[in-house]
Symmetry: C2
Subunit: 425 residues, 2 copies
């Protein structure tokens, strides 16, 4: 098959009819398939089932003697702080362990800066219209937090090495109303790219016009490598320290895609001094996170290398799914010049770019044929994908057979929407 762009009108018209007929057949099958959710599969979750029973009436105390059943402890039991600190290459007093939702840690951290200011500085809310930089496509729930707090979002282009650092440096150093930036530095959601060493270094060297500018470094996929050769990114906290910006970054980490997605443990990490400020808020806010669940994680994983070897089991389950996506897209769409997609080496998503103006149409077609996709545009601030061409593919949850069926319908939709676009052009 030759590129659609090179086809004549009559070739395209014939192709479109053929594709429509094929698509009707897909619709007639009445499938119900779901590729919307970046969630672990049953098989992945079951890797941790031992954690459901690993505590007992004889085992509920942390190493420091804390009765994990009772009140007490705001920021994590020692064994879990150590696991996070080792994974992030930090010290335990740079880590604050949270509950089961790192999103909640991020939300709270924006909330406190909005209402109380960064480190008792002027609250963002009383400084005028606050803005965040939003490398896009990015994670929709970061954008939802900005929306919730009426923070303007400025999209920043994403390349293979990370976001457009020239643009970021220029804007951050010139506009004091830019107070933050969302980053997913490793296996970025949704593109799967890994920030280069150069990119991370440039982040640490930022000279913000606002002294209350903060980097929200959501390292959600920090140990979520698919292959033996693992991506490594520099330690942003150490780099910021070296550059004299020790308090500029908040790092977030989560076991949501390590243990149980809905019942995991999370942490935020930052300079010791930032952590002290945050603990003061925690004293007013909560009795502290569930220590029994922390202890379950400590018992099951034992230490940071236990976590890393566990991640290899996840990788064995996920590799064939990512390979299937890559193989099917290549087989169905390769050479047609109607799409590009990423081939991530980790994380949870494949980012797919259709012809401009086709993403919404493709998602709608898929819905007609019973395949649920993440809404087109969701990966952009305010769900506004200016080119209407980005679609996030989430291959982790469906079993291989279902994933294959869903991709078949997806590719048929892409071809049909593309042929229609060229015909109408």
């Amino acid at each position: 098959m030759k590129p659609y762009a090179n086809m004549s009108a009559s070739e395209l018209s014939a192709l479109k009819n053929e594709l429509e007929e094929a698509f009707s057949k897909h619709k007639a099958k009445g499938k119900k398939l779901n590729m919307t959710r970046g969630v672990p599969s049953d098989e992945q979750l079951s890797l941790c089932n031992e954690m459901l029973t690993c505590l007992s009436a004889e085992d509920y105390k942390a190493a420091n003697g804390t009765d994990c059943r009772n009140y007490g402890g705001l920021d994590g039991i020692p064994e879990v702080k150590k696991i996070f600190a080792d994974l992030l290459d930090l010290s335990a007093d740079e880590v604050i362990v949270g509950g089961n939702s790192s999103l909640a840690l991020m939300f709270d951290n924006v909330a406190v800066n909005v209402s109380h200011g960064v480190r008792d500085g002027k609250p963002w809310q009383s400084q005028g219209q606050v803005k965040f930089l939003c490398p896009s496509p990015g994670y929709d729930r970061h954008f939802t937090i900005c929306n919730y707090f009426h923070i303007d979002m400025i999209p920043i282009g994403m390349g293979d090495d990370g976001p457009d650092m020239d643009e970021i440096e220029k804007m951050v150093s010139s506009d004091p109303m830019i107070k933050g930036i969302w980053c997913v530095p490793k296996y970025s959601n949704p593109t799967g790219i890994v920030y280069s060493e150069e990119t991370v270094r440039r982040f640490s060297k930022l000279k913000p016009a606002a002294d209350d500018f903060r980097i929200y470094w959501d390292n959600a996929y920090g140990f979520h490598d698919l292959y033996e050769s693992k991506a490594v990114i520099p330690n942003i906290i150490r780099l910021c320290e070296e550059e004299g910006n020790p308090n500029m970054v908040y790092v977030f980490s989560s076991f949501s895609k390590v243990s149980f997605a809905g019942a995991s443990i999370t942490c935020m990490a930052s300079s010791k001094s930032n952590c002290e400020y945050i603990r003061r808020r925690l004293t007013a806010q909560t009795i502290g996170p569930d220590k029994l669940n922390q202890l379950r994680h400590a018992r099951f994983f034992k230490d940071s290398s236990g976590v890393l070897s566990h991640m290899e089991k996840h990788a064995s389950i996920l590799r064939p799914k990512f390979k299937l996506v890559s193989d099917m897209l290549q087989k169905e769409l390769g050479g047609l010049d109607i799409a590009r997609w990423t081939e991530p080496k980790g994380g949870y998503f494949v980012s797919f770019d259709s012809l401009e103006g086709c993403a919404k149409r493709i998602v709608a077609l898929c819905a007609e044929a019973g395949v649920a996709l993440t809404p087109a545009g969701a990966t952009y601030p305010n769900s506004n994908d200016p080119k209407d061409n980005n679609i996030r593919i989430a291959p982790t949850c469906p079993p291989l057979a279902e994933l294959s069926e869903a991709l078949e319908i997806f590719c048929a939709a892409v071809k049909l929407a593309s042929a229609q676009k060229y015909l109408n052009a």
Copy 2:
């Protein structure tokens, strides 16, 4: 022994010397005892140890098929919503299940009204100096939330039937900057009193000057009765509905003193319409509370009557401790006219009133003799007990023998401080 007030100066002086000598002996023993914490004892926590192992690799799904290990579900699995709804005599859609900290639910609920306003009304923060009414003595962590959000606190006197409703009605109906009130309606912290039916009805009939006034109804001890004859308070949500104030109250409930204090489940309850608003915020804020821990609670307690019969086991452990406090205070201090104390029928505290100006001194003396008490004043807004006479006694955690030793020292301190006061008067 006759009342100190009736003693002559020489009698008092002799008494003071005698008490000082006795107290030196207590100090010499070098005890380390803790009566500060309103926390369950090891024995109480162990009542739930089965919960540590009640799930398994074959049992992790909720009744509606939800895999509790995975993402999904913002406000509780059906079986836990039903348990809370039954306990509170509400319907499930009036209940939002939270994580392990009801304090966090209260904090969040103040936070959202401060930053976003009540039901999208004008944010409290942009209306000027917000005030809360604070029946006192009360729960210090309520006051901490107000402090955190720079909310002025107005103390309201507490009687045996609840707070001074005349005062509350007058202030709430006349001052539009009064936006909230903290209530612990059953076995109030720390006095242990139960709001009368009349008091609860008057709350529901409030006609606030501010249409964004809210009652924070922290029913922390809703099923924490010590005796078979249980206190019953009217359903504030239904009453508010009947009075045409359906959205005026947020109710909070918690299993912190039912199951594991640090790893329990909590809920907030309000009108369906309020709950819908709150769910919108939750969508931005979190992936939702830990459903596996909810399922543990559902498996262990089965239903609301399972909870209530479990509470009888707590009562059997707690009754002798409260009796010991009552007996020892009566034996050591009865008839001296230097103190009053409450005899609660439930909850976690005994509230003790010394002579005016003596509470700080008593707590300091106890500290010298190795008995840690809640800081004097903690039960008042800004830790400011105007009479310096209230002390919160928390008898639940220490074993009986330790509690007895601690109370002996406490009574010795009360007598000494009182004799000193009369001598210096």
